[in-house]
Structures are given as structure tokens and as C-alpha cells.
Symmetry: D2
Subunit: 455 residues, 4 copies
């Protein structure tokens, strides 16, 4: 089978081996086997399962393959029973009773899921996002003083620095990384049996909840406070919501970057390899395909959170309607990792075009100083400063003069302009200096997040 024979793009075009190590069906089987083994280890620690049986089972768990389990499932039509049969077939009769002892299928499945989603978050997703974070921090620092016109509604507003714009993403992404780390740790296992009341384990243990703790400790997990046949769906829903949020932050970054690459704006450039083709017919094209890809993946990711929230409902002690759907959560993680990795590579190589930044800043003949002019006039007692400046900008738009010149030529304004401090007047002359504390904040935020995430 070639990967191109697959139907989901997550399995051909966006396939990622690192992610698959945790989230493929093969990996899932391994996690389920690890939980079956954790159970027997706990039994052994309590002196119930003899050491040879444990050894026997440990060996069997290392050998069972997804292919075997799948073949057995053809017969049993039950995935965990099939897995258990596969293990049992590989161990001595005396070891058999300890396999899956007191467990219900979802003790295995939900615990395996908690473990693999915790692991993939910690070992793949968070590192991938942290790489992007690190890249953004470096840009925020490097471009902290690079003046850029701020844009609201796609229109020139007042200036910022490019580093400050990036620092905003450092802050947002950083918080999401911290939240993901926290939420991965909130995933809980369960070992409370068919309806969550420890019915079966109570037959053998005085402290069935203690026994559950022992089993889960082998997986590095804590038990959920209360379960039905399945664990509470909310911790997973919270994790997936935060994954969606992280994807949203990246999509916003990607949108900004691709718009800054518009032919008419040209403030940043996506690196283009020597052999890369922009278009099959338009050889001059340099398309921001990596940023576009990020936005497209986001459109895949966002609606799928609804499936997760729908899965909160399971009737009584459970129905199975979250089974197929729960399998698709893995894809959302995979796409988010893909976004992060690709954006990191792309952001590492973006070029910042200072000439275009300056040319764009100059486009509006100093009108970006309208805000400080209005505010200063108002503070100096002008009775209707906003309206006054609004009419000055209309005049500027029509004529060939800059806002500064129009203002200086206005008799009514003269007494106010006289009262202004030099530093204030200077902003009219050089609106690009009107960047507030952008540069400092860019650096501060960069510093802060290097520390917060130990980057």
C-alpha cells in the first residue's frame, strides 16, 4: 500500500511520522497494550499475579500487532476483546486469568487515549508550537525598532513597529502553549469498570479506587473523579478547544503575513527556492503558499471542535456514538502540528523589505498624524478638535500638500500649534516617530516569553 492510496490528506500530503508515532492506529494499539500491561503490573505489585505470568504477558504485549488484532476482530466484532484474545493466545494457561482482569474495554481505551493525547501534546505539539514561538521571539527582537504603519480596517492608522506586531503573536501563542501544557496534564485515566462503579474490582479489592490508582500510576496518569463506562469527556474537550485556539492564533498570523506580501504592499517576502514554481502558467508569480496553507488547515480544524462537543453526550452509562468520531480528534492534532512546523520554517526565512515599509508609511502624506494632532488640539482646549482635524484631512486628500503643511497654513490652528512642546510638534513633521512604546514592549514581551517557556 502506498500512502497515495489514502483518502485523507492527513495520511498522504500532510502525513507526519512524528505525529503518527503517537496517533496512528498502530500507535493506538501499542498504547492499549501498554495499559493492559499496566494492569498486570499492578496485579503483580499486589502479589496477585505471579512474576512469571507478568513476564509472559509483558512479552505477549510486545508482540501483538494491529494486523493480528484486526483479524481477530473480524470474528469477535469487538476491538478490545480481540486484543485480549491475541494476548491470551500468546501466554501460558496460568497467565491467562490475569489478562484484562476486572477491566472493561473502556478502562483500556480511555486510559490509552489520555496517555497518547497527553504524550503527543507534550512531545510533539508543544515543541512544534514552541519552535514557532522561538522564531517569532527572534523576529520580535530583531524588528523591535522597524517602523511599520499600523493598519485597521485595511487602512493606514498610526505607526507601530513590525517587531511589536509580531510580539502580539508571541504573547497570544505563548499563552496557548502554557494552556496546552496544563490541559494535557488534566487528562485522566479510569479503571472503574463497566459502569464506573468499580463493580468488578470490588470483588477482589477492598480499595478498588486504590487499585485504580496503582494501575494508572504505571501510565503516569491519575484517575478521573467519577466515570461511567467512559471517562468524563470534558478534559479532552478542553484540550481540543485549546488546540483549536492555538490554530486560530497561527491562522491570524498567516493571514497577516500573506496580506503583507500583496504585490502592492510588499513589506515582507516568503523565501522562494531556486527551483520553485509559483504558477504553472505565470512564471513571475511568488505566491505565499505556506501562509495560505496554514489558513486552509485552520478551516479544516475549526468546525471539527463541534464533533468534540457533540461527543460530550453519551446516554446513561454510555453509548458508543463517540467511538468513530473520537478517532478523528487525532487528525486535528496532526493538522495543528503541520501548521506549526510549516509556519516555523516559513517565518524563519521571511525577508522584511525596509524600502517598502518606508514607502508605504509615506503614502498618505502625513495623515497618520491626524490622531496626535486631534488629541493635542483637544488637550490644548480646542472646542471641536476631532471635527477640525477631520476637515483638514479631507483637504489633504484632495490637494498635493501634506497634513503638516495644511495644518501649518491654517490660521485657526496657529495659537494651538504655538503652545505645543517641540516633541509634540515633531510628530506632525515626522509621523513615523509616533510609535508609542511599541519598540520597548516588543522587547519586553520577547524577554518575558523566553523566560516563561524557557526558550
Amino acid at each position: 500500500m502506498s500512502k497515495f492510496d489514502n483518502i485523507s490528506p492527513v495520511d498522504y500530503r500532510y502525513f507526519d511520522e512524528e505525529v503518527a508515532k503517537f496517533l496512528s492506529d498502530t500507535a493506538y494499539t501499542k498504547y492499549k497494550l501498554a495499559v493492559e500491561l499496566a494492569l498486570v503490573k499492578a496485579l503483580a505489585k499486589r502479589g496477585i499475579c505471579p512474576p512469571e505470568a507478568l513476564k509472559d504477558i509483558e512479552k505477549a504485549c510486545a508482540e501483538v500487532t494491529p494486523e493480528e488484532a484486526c483479524a481477530e476482530e473480524e470474528k469477535t466484532r469487538h476491538d478490545i476483546r480481540a486484543l485480549v484474545n491475541c494476548i491470551r493466545a500468546k501466554v501460558s494457561d496460568s497467565a491467562k486469568p490475569y489478562v484484562h482482569m476486572t477491566a472493561t474495554s473502556y478502562d483500556i481505551i480511555d486510559t490509552a487515549n489520555a496517555a497518547r493525547f497527553r504524550d503527543v501534546t507534550r512531545e510533539i505539539l508543544v515543541p512544534a508550537l514552541s519552535d514557532l514561538e522561538k522564531t517569532l521571539i527572534a523576529i520580535a527582537e530583531r524588528e523591535a525598532e522597524t517602523v511599520q504603519v499600523g493598519r485597521t480596517h485595511g487602512q493606514h492608522a498610526v505607526p507601530i513597529t513590525f517587531g511589536y506586531a509580531i510580539a502580539g503573536y508571541v504573547s497570544r501563542l505563548g499563552q496557548s502553549i502554557l494552556a496546552l501544557q496544563d490541559l494535557a496534564g488534566q487528562l485522566k485515566g479510569k479503571f472503574s469498570g463497566a459502569v464506573g462503579a468499580y463493580n468488578a474490582s470490588s470483588l477482589f479489592f477492598d480499595d478498588p479506587e486504590g487499585f485504580e490508582k496503582d494501575v494508572l500510576a504505571e501510565m503516569g496518569l491519575e484517575p478521573v473523579e467519577s466515570a461511567t463506562q467512559v471517562t468524563q469527556p470534558e478534559p479532552m474537550a478542553r484540550l481540543m478547544a485549546e488546540v483549536t485556539i492555538a490554530a486560530g492564533v497561527m491562522a491570524n498570523l498567516a493571514d497577516d503575513m500573506r496580506h503583507l506580501q500583496r504585490t502592492e504592499i510588499g513589506e515582507i517576502g516568503e523565501e522562494f527556492s531556486a527551483t520553485q514554481v509559483g504558477s504553472s502558467t505565470m512564471p513571475q508569480k511568488r505566491n505565499p503558499i505556506n501562509f495560505e496553507n496554514a489558513k486552509s488547515l485552520w478551516k479544516i480544524i475549526v468546525p471539527r471542535i463541534v464533533t468534540v462537543f457533540m461527543d460530550q453526550i453519551s446516554e446513561h452509562q454510555r453509548d458508543l456514538t463517540n467511538s468513530a468520531s473520537g478517532r478523528t480528534y487525532a487528525e486535528t492534532i496532526a493538522y495543528t502540528v503541520s501548521m506549526a512546523k510549516r509556519l516555523t520554517k516559513t517565518m524563519q526565512k521571511i525577508s522584511v523589505d525596509k524600502a517598502h515599509l518606508e514607502a508605504n508609511m509615506a503614502l498618505q502624506k502625513g495623515m497618520i498624524a491626524a490622531e496626535p494632532l486631534y488629541i493635542l488640539l483637544a488637550s490644548l482646549g480646542h472646542p471641536d478638535a476631532h471635527e477640525k482635524v477631520r476637515t483638514l484631512t479631507l483637504e489633504t486628500q484632495k490637494g498635493g500638500k501634506s497634513l503638516e503643511d495644511v495644518a501649518l497654513a491654517d490660521a485657526e490652528l496657529a495659537p494651538y500649534l504655538e503652545k505645543m512642546a517641540d516633541v509634540q510638534k515633531n510628530i506632525l513633521k515626522n509621523p513615523a516617530s509616533y510609535t508609542g512604546v511599541a519598540a520597548e514592549k516588543a522587547k519586553k514581551i520577547a524577554r518575558e516569553w523566553k523566560k516563561n517557556l524557557s526558550l
Copy 2:
């Protein structure tokens, strides 16, 4: 590579070879090659491309593999340019100019997509749904007279027949099948170049729209009325919305069937194979896993329509943000086919438990006759029939007598009951006969849809 190494369940657990024949990446490449070939055929018919060149290119198109194209894409970072390079590398220099002549990438991609989604709908999805429809028709006919208590709000209402309940799904699914057939035929191709204005083809043809028609005719497609670089997204959105609707009809059926299998209701049974296991710990369990699976797949399908609607937005003559996301539409089709096939197999073997149907009907001591009693009293001039009957049912609930007995013992009602026709009185005695025209309608609808769909 084993299919278990995949991340998406559509590529392991729910993988379907029939669907993959149209919707895998390999299949997609074949469709794209078919469009490249269609172009050269049209060039040949117009005498532009010489016959030998056509032959040469035809051979090359049959040989290019997705693996080759993918390797070339590593270099070009452009999927269609890579494919074109692969074809060109296999043909003589004199044939090279005709490969991809005047075409832009999305002439190929969007036309290939229209063709493969049309084909998979007609050849796999509609037949799969029609198989289910046929199965439901057979049940509607077989159980047309099987009386069942109707349920609203999960409470017993008035009787229907089981066949009539199924006939409702025959009608709903049938309409969706017809709509899918229609919408598959509405998918359009395009061959109007980089921005949809036939810029390139106008260099060579007086009738570029005529040339577009020629190319698309090779694929059995008509041109879209107007395009940018890409075709209009709405015909695909309409098709995907209807796929979602078909899935919704099946999910509703599945929900009904699994509730009818509740231990306390037991009116139908899902066939259970001799070796099948219901639960890894509860050997008595007979779980409606096939119906639960259908519901779970539905939870995957529904939110994804949002991705499709998000893809309606593409800036100016197009941005690429619908590229990755557009690839996931194939999954929705695959899941819907999976639902249909599994439901067909399951419905073919459901057993209908007449004993339980009758026992359930008797549960409420004839109170399901409250409606006809109220209506007849009202029509006979009782001033407050609804309120009167409501109090009779409260009495019935408390005591041990049936509603008929309570009514007959009520002095106030005597004059009205006397006036009732025998057939009307009989309904009080035998509420199970109060099924209106359920049986006839079940048969009529079954007949109608056998005809409509030529089943």
C-alpha cells in the same frame, strides 16, 4: 506501509476500496492526467496537435505515477507543474508544446474534481444509498400491517405500523438520492485560464469558450458560466450539503433503531453473529453497535459542512486557502458511503419482535385511545372534551382499570358514547386498530419509490 500506520480512521478502520478508486490521492492524480489528456485530444481534433504527439502524450499520461509526481513536486513546490514536468519528460520534444497548452493549474484541478466527485456520487454513493433504500422498501412492505405504538417525546402516543415508520425513511432518503443525482450532474468544469478570462486561449482560438467546451466534453462535463482561476464553489457546496442531509436521514433512522432495541423496549433486534462479543466483560450484552456507529459517523460529517461553506470565500481571482481544506471533502463522501453500506447490511437482518410490539402496545391500559375519544366527544358536541378526557386518563393512571372501562363507567359520557358508530366505539375497545391509513400509505410509498428510482 500498513493501513494501520494511518492517522485518519477513513484510511484504516473505515477504508473502502471502492471509494478509494475515485477519491484516493492516486485516483486524483489519474483524474488530473485524464484532464491533461482531454486537452490534447481537443487540440488534436482541431488539427493543432499532430496525431503522433497525441499518441505520445496519451502513453505518457498512462504511465505517470503519484510517486513520480510527488518527487518532482519536492523540486517545483507546485503540484500541477510537477505533473506536467513528469508528462513532458516522457514525450518527444515535438510533443512537448502541446502538454498543458494554454491551461492553468486549476483548469486541470477543478475539472478533475468535478469529474471525480460526479463519478463517485453516481457510481458509489448513490448505489450505496439505493441499496439501503431498497432494503427499507422491502421492510416497509413486509411490515406494512405490523402495528406499533407511535411515540412522541419518548411517550406512547397513538398507533402506527412499523412499516409506515420505515416508509417515512423511504420517502426522505429517496428524495435525497434524487437530489444527489441531480447535483452530481450540476458540477461543472473550467478551461478559462489563470483568471477565468480565457486570456491564454484567446491567443490561439477565436472561440476560446468553444475550445473550453471541446476539452470538457472529453470529460463529459459542461463549462461553468463564469470562473476566476477556480470554478464557482457553489455547485460543490450544494452537493456536499445534500450529502450531509442524506447522512442526517440515516442518522435519524439509526437512532430510532437503536432506541427500539433498548432492553425495556425490545421491538427490534440487530442480528448477532455466533462468535460476536457484545462486551469484553459483560457476555450477555447485544449492543446495537452498527446503529451507534452510524450516529457517530454523522457527528463526524455534519460539522465539516462548515469547512465547505468557508471555502466559498476566495479572494479576488483566487487565493489558495481552499486547497488543503478542499481535499477533505472526499472524507465526507467516504463516511457517508460507509454509513449506507453498514446500515444496509444491518437493516437486512433486523428481526422484528411481534411479542414485544404487542406487549408495549398494552402497557398503558388503552390510554392511547384518549385522542379518538376526545375527538369523537368533541365532534358530538361535548363542551370541553379535551379537559374531560384528560381527567379520565388521570383516573386511569391511578387505578387498575383501562381507559375504556373508566369511560364506560362515567355517567356524564353515557349519552355521547351511545351516539357513537360501532366502528368508532370499537377503537376504545381495541386501540391497536386506530392506525389511520398507516398500512396503505406504507405500501403506496414503497411502490412509489421503487418506481422513482427504478429499484
Copy 3:
């Protein structure tokens, strides 16, 4: 109560009286009363209800207010029973039996919903969209020859005309209008009683289906083929999906228009009233707020289709879980009408800035001719035209010369350039003439849709 005391923006900021005439709760009550009356009219036509009783009931139906019905509902906790009680309280005892005779609540509710959604679609939504369509047609015609650089991936591609870009929306919106008209006509009524089997009406009529037809004919509706207590949800789902699609077309238009207004692009302008304020602090701002608003409304609309699809599932002969949710469909219609009306007003007054259009076209030193150059070279037998032109564009980007000059200076190209026809060579000199059939198609599409929609 002031409208500002409301919580939903559809009831204060985006409140529209024309829509409310069909979709407010008051309007809903009127439609339900109209159905109750339609029933009695049908009874009268069959000679069952005497003329005086009909008159009596007609008068009562005209008098019942939502406030009365709501007060009665406090007691009955059942909305239709409350309405029926209100009617009955206003008529003579002899008329009482005919009120709601044989009907179940959802005979009234679903029929009322079909009627009001059909009416609002036909009388408000389609006209609002048609006004926008008309406006777009006028622009497509007026600007059919206005050359504009085509943009793919936000990068300059090859030229179109602005009228052609708008014609694309004419085509897409026109098709959605036709689909909405069709789907509004597909909404069906029902009068088949508590579980859809005509149980009650069979007590009185030999032809209960004929009686249903009579009642619905009074509302201008046809009966659904099969019902439970409720009508089939699919026709409404199809209508709502198409409403979402229409909103998507408008959102795409709005996105294009607001990006064309970016300070650096400036190809179109949104009209700004003399007293309008762009920003509370930046008096120079001219923000594309109407187009932004359209995009924002679209973000409200799209996800809500999921609620509609969720409502396809109703257990057995119905559960009530589509009741509250079904009430929110009205909002989606209202927001879509709001989008259409506001876009119409805004598009009617947009200004097209020819100077900016030309300046933008010139930005890339003729590189938009790279496509025709490559295609012509290829057709003239150049062995690697795409790659050759790609390197020429790299040279053009670096130096100060236009693509034409770079090409003319290239020795390797000389023999090919010589072979080109004058009209072909001219495109290198004047890339703005490379617009294919954009102008003609713009006019043709405009003509076509004026005819299709009789505008």
C-alpha cells in the same frame, strides 16, 4: 419595552421591520391562526362546519393576540393548546367543536412555518438579493471594459476587467436566487395528525389525504409525502443551506471589495457621508465598515447551519428537541436580508478609481505578460519556455527594465520573437490588453441574468 433592552442584535441593531412582518413571534402567531382558520374553511367547504360557525371562528382568529396566547400558555404550558383555548373562548358553543378539529399541534405549527418561510423568502429575501443582483449587473455593464490587474494569492497575475470580476458575482448570486425561489416552493405543509398516519381524520373522512390537501390549499401549500408528528425536515434544511450559500457569495464579494479599498490598493472607494466618522481618534480614516459588517454577519450565519442539520434527527414519531432550535432559523434569514440590503446600498455608491487601477497595473514592470510570453514561446517550439521566462522575470525583478525590454535584449529569444504575429507581440508591449474575453463575457453574463430574473 425599548428595542435596546433586547439581547440579540437581530432585535436591536439589525432589526428589520419588513422581516419581522413574517418572522417575529407576533407574525408567527398570525400564521398559526391562519392555519387554524384554513382548517375550519375546509370543514365548511365539505359541509361539516356551518357557515355561521366559520364566520364566528374567522372573527376570533383575527382577534387573538400573542399576549393573550402567552398568558394562557402560562396555564397550559402548551403553546398550541393555549392558542386553541383563546379561539374557543371567543366563539359560541356551537362553533367550538370545529376549532382545531382532528388537528394535532404540529399540523398547525409545521404548516405555519412552511408558509411563513416560503413567504419571507419570496417577498423579502429574494427581492433583497435581486436588488443587489441588479446593482451588480449595472456595475458589470458599466465597468465591462475597465481593465484591472487580476490577482491570485494576493499577487498580480494577468489582467481582467473590473466588470468581469463583478459579473462572476452576478452569475453566482443569480444561481442562488433561482435556487432559493425553487426551494421556497418545495416547503410542504402537513395535516396528518399526531403521528402522521391520519389517525384522527380517518375517523371522519374516507379520504383523509384529500382533506389534508383541502386544508393546505387554503394556505397555498401541498402536503408532504410522509410525516410523523412533524413534517420532513429536509426541505427546510435545503432552504437554509441555500440561504447560507447566498450569504457566502455576498461575503466573498464583501471581502474582495474591502481589500480593493486597502490604502495601498485604492481601486474602489466606499461612499462616505459628509458627517460620517471613520474612527473616534483617527479623523482621516475611511473604513470599509459596510463590507466588514457583511463578513461579520456571515460568521454568524455559517455555523448555524449545523443546528439545522442537527434538527434532522427527531426520535420515532418526534421528540421536541427541534422546537427552541427551530425558532432560530428566522435569525439566519434576517441576517441574510440585512447583508443583502446593506451591500446593495454600498455597491450602488462605490467609486472606481481609474488612476489607481492603472498605477497598480504598471507596478510590476510588465511582468504580467510573462504568461503570454511563455505560452507563445512554447507554441513556437521553445523547448523549455516556462523555465526560460521564469529566469527572465527574476532578471526583471532585480533590474530597472521592463519584462519586454529584458526579453527583447535576450539573444536566445530573438528567433522566436520574430515569428510572433503583431497582435501577439503587442501584448508584451501593452500587457493591459491581455484581458482575453473579459469585457464581452461581463456584458453577456449581465444580459443573461437580467433575462433570467426579469430584472
Copy 4:
């Protein structure tokens, strides 16, 4: 205007005055005025604004009405400018300069939103959920020992207690309440001006970030770490996701409760008032309409989270496409409060039908003991216990004997049964005793959450 003239059900049928106090447009205006005032107070504390001007502005802010602001907006087409004009019109000329000084619109709007969503969460939503929590705790304690058959896949599994089932919801809802409290506190204000870089405030203050802190402290808020024109969208997205999660927990509870009311199950009953009508035609109906309503509201709520996640994207220093959509978040809160209040009232009065609980437990002739039997046999060394018990249950299903009797009659099992402890054997005889630690856990969880939430 009557509330019935509204289009959104949140403004007529589900209108809640307590919620409107925070989330109506009138309330929103009050919050915005409070922020404008907070700004002037901070100016006064720094000695910039004189006390009389503050007084003047305080009075004006108390007087401005939404109607006035709306009328002014007709002129300015800018909501905050309109509000500012309304304040300015009411104050002396000398106070005018301090109104809105250095602020940009979204300093006001985003800060007002943070404050009102924090307040409605703390003062209305969390208390409403806590009332439900308290009600559930009381049921968990009262019914801790009430044995109920556990159900998985709608099939009888092994026993729990009804109190334990409810305790599961106590645990899930409790965690969501804690999360909501936390997330409400995470909402941040901003006062950093038009592009978030403190451009304007830097003209007046050496410590513009300190000034921001001062202003926000008046509202009890902290500043966001980094902003554009708008605050970071993620804290609001996290809050809304958790609201959706809380709604999901309630919807699951509601689904369970309505299924337990099915005619055939009848384990709980929703209280029915003396005058309440179940159906307009079926007087005997007692429909679980409150639980159905909760499910229906959930279908409204869940998809709307997608709008919130879509609003994470705002181009550059902001676009306005989150403005209309952001207004709809209020509805989601309102619907969730409605769910909570209605469920509380309904759960307070549910009746638990012990007779039906016991009858249902007996339905399967002791087969719910299949699990313990299998597990005990396995632990006693039976080589294929699961398969053995599976065949016993098939026999039990066919015949008239209980599983216990079938097991006792089975020769192969005799040696194992002999080895069982009395307490183990007893479970075969009385499967209802097989409830594990359900009762204790129910009480423990109830205790825990009374403490956690100080209920």
C-alpha cells in the same frame, strides 16, 4: 414595542431580565459609559482632570441613553463617536477635553465587554449553574443507595445507584463551574489606543502602561499583555468554550432524564402541574418537555462556538469583522442560563419511581450477573470464562430460567462455584447487590462539591 415583535427567541420566549441587566444593548451602553467615566476618574486622580469636570462628566454619563446614542449614530455612523458626542453635549466646554481623552473606541468597547461578560458570568451564570449543582447534590445524596440498572448502548449492563449516576453530573458540572469562575477572571481590559502601542497616551504620560492600569482598576480589570486596536480574543474564546462545555454537561443530563421517562422505562417522572396539557390532541401525554428544551437549546449553543473561533482572526491591527458577530456571544450566555434555571426547577421536582427501578432490574432474569460470574470463573482458573458465560446467557435468553439457575445446573461449573466465597455467590442470587462502591462514591462526591463550591 411588545417582546413578541422580536425575531430571536432569546428576546421573547427565553427572555430573562436578570441576564438582560448585563447583556442587553442598554446594559452594554451603560458599561461603555462606565468605562468612559473610569478614564476620567483616572485622569482626575492624576490631577489632569479637575474635580468639577469629573463631576460634570459623571453626571452626563449617568444621563446618556441608548436612544440618544443611536440617534447620534445615524449622523456619525460610528457608535463610540456618537456616545462621546452625547457625553460632550451634556458637559461644560472646560470639561469637554477630558471626555474620551487619548482613548480609541475599542479601549472602551473591549473593556466594557470584559467587564460585562465577567459580571454576567459571576453574578448570573455561575449562580444559576450552582443552583443546579446544589439540586443535583441533594439528589445524589438522597438516592445514593437507590439501585438502578446501569445501561450501556441502551442495554442493561451491571447495576449502579441512581445517586451515583447523578453524582457523575455533580462532578462534571462542578468542574465546569470552577473553570467558568477562573476564566471570567481572566478577561482583560485594554487602554493602549488605536493600534495597541500607547501612541496617544505616550503623548501625555511617561508611564502609559501605568495609566492604563489606573483606568482599568476602576473597572476591576487588569490590562491584557499585548493588544492591537483590540484585546486578544483568546480569553473570551476560552470562556465561551467553557460555556459550551457546561451546556454539554447539562444536555447529557437532560438526555438521560428524558430517556428514563420513556413509557417503557418510567424510572423518573417530570412533575406535571394540575392544569398542564401534554398534547393538544392526546390528553394522556406527560411529555418531558423541559428536558427536551434543554437539548434543543444545546443545539443552538454548540455550533455558535465556531463563530467565536472565527473571530480570532482580525487582520493586522484589526478589522471590524468581529463586530456584529461578537454581539451574538451574549445569546449563548443567555441560552445557557435558561438551560440551567429550567433544569434546576425540573430536577427539584422529579419523582423517582422505585417500583419501575426494581421491575427493570428484574427484566433480564439475572443476566446482569454475567460479568461477575465471568470474572470470578476466570480468577478461579476457568480457561475460557468469557466464552463459557456467553453461552450460558444465550441459554438463559432462550429458556425460562434465570442465569443463576442455568449456572447452578451446569456440571462444568460446579467445581468453580464451590470455590466461591459466600459474598461472591450471593451476587448470582441477588445481582442488584453488585453495585461496587456506587453508594459511597455518590456521597463522597456530593460532600466534595458542597465543599469545593461552598454550597
